[in-house]
Point group: C2
Chain length 297, copies 2
């Protein structure tokens, strides 16, 4: 099994479907790459392209995508609600089966260096590829936005690679490495959305809850039900089984049962094996015990 | 994702490691095949070769193995404790991700037909490939053993394919299709092996327990602990989560905690996803939501 890597570039185009589809096609055309998801948001004027493959193929596909996006998107005319610094705004690399975070940091640095050189675009490294603490979080890097970036770049916000000069049409790019993100919801057997909001507040990291967990309480309709909607930013730190247990305990304490879980989009194999590992206390479980694990290329 | 199939042939040779290794090499040499396990037992004078790959590759590898085994094993001189009918005693095909039981039944029939034709060997179909109820279970087919087979074949035990004449050196062959077998143990926090034996008896199918479950109670040493050792013969009928729950409930009722689970050898991806499906009540979970599932070839 060679190392699989996921890449989730966010591009500043969400209103021209043909352009977005063209970018996805550029990615899919790289041998060994699977396009896993393509989501556009017109209000944000932004698209998220999710693909995966062997490390080498993913690196090639990311560079091909950047070149194609720079040919199609002009930041001078870009308007959208979502904060952004460039035509290709952020490019995270994510380790999957057979690859490590270190591999992904190395890929991020190589891709960043190549983009700087080929396109004369300033590069910031974020998350696990960050070069300093104040550049770990994306919002901190993106704060000045495209329009205010040059002024800040001239003083405190110099790039990690490439020129200290915002590219007029491409802007700047943020490249990094992070764990896979898992979107996971739990539906409660109640219409009491206040309970879901309270549980969400108790378990999310931002209010002192579980590490690497974002959570919100929502009301589902038809039938009306309360839902705790979560992002697990690092399932190796806080697992699916852990958030299930924590949400269930709080709901039960309020006399409410949990109805079901829901996985939104994709999750890595390791996160699912962790569930089996915890539920059946299979401390010694390794990925090579899964027959299909021998056929992941 | 194309269909993966596992094949677990049992051959009547467990005392000549070079011969067994040679048979495994014949299998491994088929493009796309992964040898997953090779276990020999000298007392039984028998080896189990586990391999998997695309359906077509597995079919080729099975036929190549049969030809090689027939060239190396002579049933006229075979002695061993384990019941057997032939040099290649039993060849089960097992559906994995992307293939179905129907696919495996079809493979079993094609392989059986080809072996009958190429080697002039009588063929019995068993398990899901059985042609009549009394040939579903392997022990029923294997009862006369190699030595008594011709006498029975002349009366009631005619083969499903090939000649009604036991091949002098190859004997007969049993070919079939079955679900994956999962070997799973649960360790109890007690030295009371009687409790493990009682739980095993209560949960195994043969004494009225859970469908498709075999179970025994054992004593582990260093430290001394009781263990319930199980084979799950069809995890889609009785799952890992179910046996865990049933064993845990009975242990707890006796005031004993369960310490840990242990997966022996390999398990299919679907069995692990079932654990996540049950633990997190992910009714809608599908294999394509596992990122690596897109890279199983």
């Amino acid at each position: 099994m060679s190392g699989l890597v996921e890449c989730v570039p966010n591009v500043s185009e969400g209103r021209r479907p043909d352009v977005v589809r063209g970018l996805a096609d550029v990615v899919s055309a790289v041998p060994g790459i699977r396009l896993l998801d393509l989501t556009s948001d017109a209000d944000h004027n932004r698209s998220v392209i999710t693909f995966a493959g062997d490390a080498e193929a993913v690196e090639s596909a990311a560079l091909a995508l950047v070149a194609a996006a720079y040919g199609a998107i002009d930041m001078r005319t870009h308007i959208g609600e979502h904060p952004r610094l460039g035509a290709v705004d952020v490019v995270p690399f994510v380790p999957l089966s057979g690859s490590t975070m270190e591999d992904c940091v190395a890929i991020a640095k190589r891709v960043g260096g190549a983009v700087a050189k080929a396109h004369d675009v300033p590069v910031y490294y974020y998350a696990k590829a960050a070069t300093r603490p104040e550049r770990v979080r994306l919002p901190d890097i993106r704060k000045p936005q495209y329009e205010g970036l040059q002024a800040l770049m001239d003083t405190t916000h110099g790039p990690d690679d490439g020129p200290a000069r915002v590219h007029p049409t491409a802007g700047a790019i943020v490249v990094g490495a992070r764990p896979p993100l898992i979107a996971f919801n739990i539906e409660l057997d109640t219409a009491d959305v206040k309970l879901a909001k309270r549980i969400a507040k108790e378990i999310r990291e931002s209010s002192g809850g579980l590490t690497a967990v974002q959570a919100m309480g929502f009301e589902l309709t038809d039938p009306v039900r309360a839902q705790v909607s979560m992002n697990l930013l690092d399932h190796s730190v806080t697992s699916l089984a852990t958030v299930w247990r924590e949400v269930e305990a709080r709901a039960n304490a309020a006399g409410v049962k949990v109805l079901r879980g829901e996985l939104i989009g994709l999750a890595p194999l390791d996160a699912m094996l962790d569930v089996a590992r915890e539920s059946l206390r299979l401390d010694g479980l390794v990925r090579t015990q899964i027959i299909e694990g021998h056929f992941i290329r």
